[in-house]
Symmetry: C2
Subunit: 454 residues, 2 copies
């Protein structure tokens, strides 16, 4: 492997030049005018695979195509599936770019272009890693499959169906995805958990139409008062969720994880600054990282009722609606959470009032056991790639495709994010650190080696 | 007076015919296309006054004109000011009228036409009452002034200024207004109180922009959670208002009033049915009439925050707004209520959160002392007019022009409503009972007599 890494180090400039070629294709998936460009980017990836000796094909999905590639020459060894995407976000507002978004330039050690970090630059690391192995040794240490799609920025509408219809082509022991960020600069990170979600809409109805607040105010139930009281009682005085049973299945993070989190170089005040909020507030006795990574939430995301226009109106509202979601952590199950919320809403609905709770959508949390062999391999690979061991992190949100891999296909996921939080993905002047691009290629090469050792 | 009442009884058919002439004028004040019709209705009233020997003039107000009339030939006697309006609401949806709205017809003892009850029919009773006195005796028992306006249905935008500029022309000892309803059929009513109001807008802000509920949910204060908790704590567990001091100035209704109210032929269940609400809810130990007539309220009239569109959005809202109003009863003062609400909101605002309370508008409650000589005269007049003593009621809402008479001009008001709750005022097929029209004329005549006896 030492030779392979040395070859990668020697080829730094060429890797950047080849990435630039891919970045020049304006593959904006949300814009029908750029459909041919998305196809061209997928085709460019196919050609890049073929050139290094990996069988690849462009597959139709009903929407933008994807590139499937595979090298299965290591019988008896594990199979790695690499997922990534080569479509990009729109570039507007164009005036805010200091250089044209599809003319990549190097500035202060960064490559500036749309897609540099999200995700062309990150996914390209795996191609160059495989190339280095094939060039040096004529083979790869493990079997590798690739799914590089063209619809991630529009929500991957056709990918799950394509994968379900092509289960053999995506069969693997472990998935690697590099489409997220490091915890901070110089902090290569391994993500071991994502929160799931269950979303709801709650309607409270107390009458047929709003009535005059002079004639009836004080004598009939105001739907907003009722809803506010119900909402308030979904949390206790100290902002714990007050839904009996909701914490029952919550898995405490491993001692190893908590230690790792508390060592992360981010203070509570820095967390607050990042949020732009005036203060921090949450479950007592927990840090902000624990609250967002390892604890469930119940969050009202929208509320509406009564008079919405300017000025004042003398009504007793007969109807009010709140939308809310619970974020789920390992080992919570959406079905149990939905049932617990349903019971609590029924309990909180006063006599003489109607409430109607609609379940929206749900996704289970994702947990990658920190003591798994895959994680151990990834830790060693990141250390080899970046020259230091990774920090263990989680994400507070969901990544639907990860949930799909883990829940539907039953394949554990490794989330090796090489970006940085200030990469301005989706914004003007998107960038990707060339140092991290290089370390990412080294990590990919090391990962193939480490997986072969399992 | 017996002669006068007998003359009124004899002239029933003519009174109805003359009212029909006034109802044929489509004086819709909100529609500029009907401006000439509003003026024609005001002019018709002027002519009607002149014809019976009362000096009258059409006065410009900047908007639609009004008719001012007066007969001041009873020196040493009290002066009565009669207020009413001859403009009407629009007639849409026209298709729902069974007969054309400006072609009055008599059906089952009712006169059907736009404005029959609100307010042409009711205000016309005073003209016919004065006419009967003048015809029989050549004079009126007391001095009488009239202000018959053409802008009530658009909120009387110019009337207060006109009255302030013409204070001599509206100088009086007591005001009589017939623009409301009886408590029920065959229940002539005297209204002795109106609730006042103080309205507010409360904004809660916890951050600069909404943030991702995956990344930050559980660790930063959700503005909707905070607002819901604040709203909930504006009432106690049993729905008393929880704003210290708010009940301090509340005057309990007189024993006489409470007795009168409890004898009114309306059950709690009938009150609920009228509201169209699923149940009744309010301050413990009070009937619905007490709650709406004699107790203050704090009513959220509108709430908004976070995601308002269809579907779900994963955000922690940084801002939420509630509009609310307090209804004031005698002897509460808006300034004290505003101060009490301000203190309570400050107290309920958690550390690390910003709240911004804006005061909207305020109007004091109106109370007509039940033991006043004016009320006593009105009671006797209603008994003479309708053949039975009136019930004593209040209104839960405000009537701004009444507040203006009482608070700005310092003149006590008599609210003698002759309409019925099912008169469909503002709706299709508006009606006015011919029996009540006739009883109203008799009451007007009797009121002139009774006021002269004071």
């Amino acid at each position: 492997m030492r030779d392979v890494l040395a070859a990668i180090d020697a080829d730094r400039a060429r890797h950047v030049d080849e990435l630039k070629d891919l970045l020049r294709i304006p593959s904006v998936s949300s814009d029908p005018a750029h459909a041919a460009d998305v196809r061209q980017a997928v085709e460019a990836v196919r050609v890049a695979f073929e050139r290094i000796g990996i069988t690849a094909r462009v597959c139709e999905t009903g929407g933008h195509p994807l590139c499937h590639a595979e090298w299965m020459g290591a019988p008896g060894k594990p199979t790695l599936l690499v997922y990534g995407h080569v479509d990009v976000q729109p570039v507007e507002p164009l005036a805010e770019w200091t250089t044209p978004p599809f003319e990549p330039v190097e500035v202060n050690g960064n490559l500036i272009a749309r897609g540099a970090s999200d995700d062309k630059g990150q996914v390209f690391t795996y191609l160059k890693a495989a190339e280095a192995w094939l060039k040096r040794t004529g083979s790869l240490p493990v079997n590798v499959r690739f799914v590089i799609e063209g619809e991630e920025e529009v929500g991957s509408p056709n990918l799950p169906a394509w994968m379900m219809a092509n289960r053999e082509a995506v069969k693997a022991d472990v998935v690697a995805i590099s489409d997220t960020s490091q915890f901070g600069p110089g902090l290569p990170s391994l993500c071991t958990g994502l929160r799931g979600i269950a979303s709801f809409e709650l309607e409270v109805r107390t009458g047929q139409t709003d009535v005059h607040s002079g004639t009836f105010g004080g004598a009939v139930p105001n739907a907003i008062h009722i809803l506010a009281r119900m909402i308030d009682r979904l949390h206790d005085e100290e902002w714990r969720i007050d839904v009996p049973g909701i914490y029952d299945d919550v898995a405490e993070p491993a001692a190893f994880e908590r230690e790792s989190w508390s060592a992360l170089p981010q203070s509570e005040e820095e967390f607050r600054e990042t949020s732009g909020f005036l203060s921090l507030l949450g479950e007592p006795g927990r840090t902000s990282l624990e609250r967002t990574w390892a604890r469930p939430t119940l969050e009202i995301v929208g509320i509406t009722g009564g008079h919405q226009g300017p000025g004042h109106k003398g009504v007793v509202p007969c109807r009010a609606v709140a939308k809310f979601s619970t974020r789920l952590v390992p080992n919570m199950r959406p079905a149990r959470v939905i049932e617990a919320v349903r019971r609590r809403i029924a309990e909180l609905t006063p006599a003489g009032v109607e409430s109607n709770l609609q379940f929206g959508h749900g996704a289970p949390p994702v947990s990658i056991p920190v003591d798994s062999k895959w994680i151990a391999a990834a830790v060693r690979a990141l250390e080899a790639g970046f020259g230091k061991p990774p920090v263990m992190i989680r994400e507070g949100g969901s990544i639907p495709i990860v949930t799909f891999f883990v829940e539907e296909l039953g394949i554990p996921c490794l989330l090796l994010g090489y970006g940085l939080h200030d990469d301005r993905i989706h914004g003007p002047n998107e960038k990707f650190s060339l140092k991290d691009f290089h370390a990412g290629i080294r990590t990919g090469a090391a990962l193939l080696h480490e997986l072969a050792m399992i």
